[in-house]
Symmetry: C2
Subunit: 202 residues, 2 copies
Amino acid sequence: MGRTSDARERILTAGADLFGRRSYASIGVAEICAAAGVPKGSFYYFFPSKQALALEVVDRHWEWQRGEWMRILTSVAPVVDRLRDLFVATAQMQSDALKGTGAVVGCLFGNLALELSTQDDPVRARLQEIFEEQIDIVEATLREAEAAGDLHVADARESAKAIVAQIEGLVLFAKLYNDPAQLESLWRSSMMLLGLQDEAVA
Amino acid sequence: MGRTSDARERILTAGADLFGRRSYASIGVAEICAAAGVPKGSFYYFFPSKQALALEVVDRHWEWQRGEWMRILTSVAPVVDRLRDLFVATAQMQSDALKGTGAVVGCLFGNLALELSTQDDPVRARLQEIFEEQIDIVEATLREAEAAGDLHVADARESAKAIVAQIEGLVLFAKLYNDPAQLESLWRSSMMLLGLQDEAVA
């Protein structure tokens, strides 16, 4: 049994690595098995399809990323500082990927959203939920900042969506130029989106 | 010769349609030829590879889109109104795609950027140039608005990049939710990014 569950983990690790770096359509089950060092029969013992593996990879990645977001956004720092910490962590994650793999990998959810949205409904439905959750988390932080008198926005939901969209757009640039420095302006852009003046964020 | 150039056009039209709707990796030369109604030999007479076709599809799409952007952003309307017109046109393009194909197709450049950035260098290099040009065009508009006294931004280049990133992020949501209404907030978000008050944009 130890051996069996090890194979499942290795398939998940190989899938996360490949889906993170390459186009979903370009990756076959045979390649995932080769990377994981497991026979093809093992794959189908654990996962009915590549899509089923993708769903679990997406869920695990979000579980990890949500944990990071919640840790940063519920810290004891002033609320606006927590938002800045989130953006610094986002840029850092892309820098780390560049050091580890030689490439800015971008956002797994954004990558899959653009590749699969016209064709792959179960993964797409899950990605919709994840982006809703991301916007929920940022919205809750903005409402906390409003309650503390640190900012005022006309529509916290819309502002949160604009911030998540800004993250995705700048992560796209970071990936396209293979340059995490593209994310350096995320903080200033987000402060503009929230109507905060420079002196409030210095 | 009329027949020959017709085949080339049909391959380009089929490529634009398929690359616009589906993952690049999932599309083969055989499928493009079937959609275009040409034999495979014709394809390789005109294009050395799928990548060469993709480069020409990207160039043509940008030629068209740049024409639209320039037409809107150099009109006689007040500068800030031209920016709003650009965002209305962006949302309209996604609505038209939804009516025509049943799907919000998103941004061809953004789709290819996320899919190919870790693997396909010639297309990626071209996409880098196109996004630079998009930012150039918006930056020139912002500088014109500044000269007219309509707005003041700390860094016109950075603001232009933030606006293009916001477009890409919201187009991603429009595609993910198959809902062009996701783009309705683009105007308000961009005005926030430019530090414009509500009364200035009413």
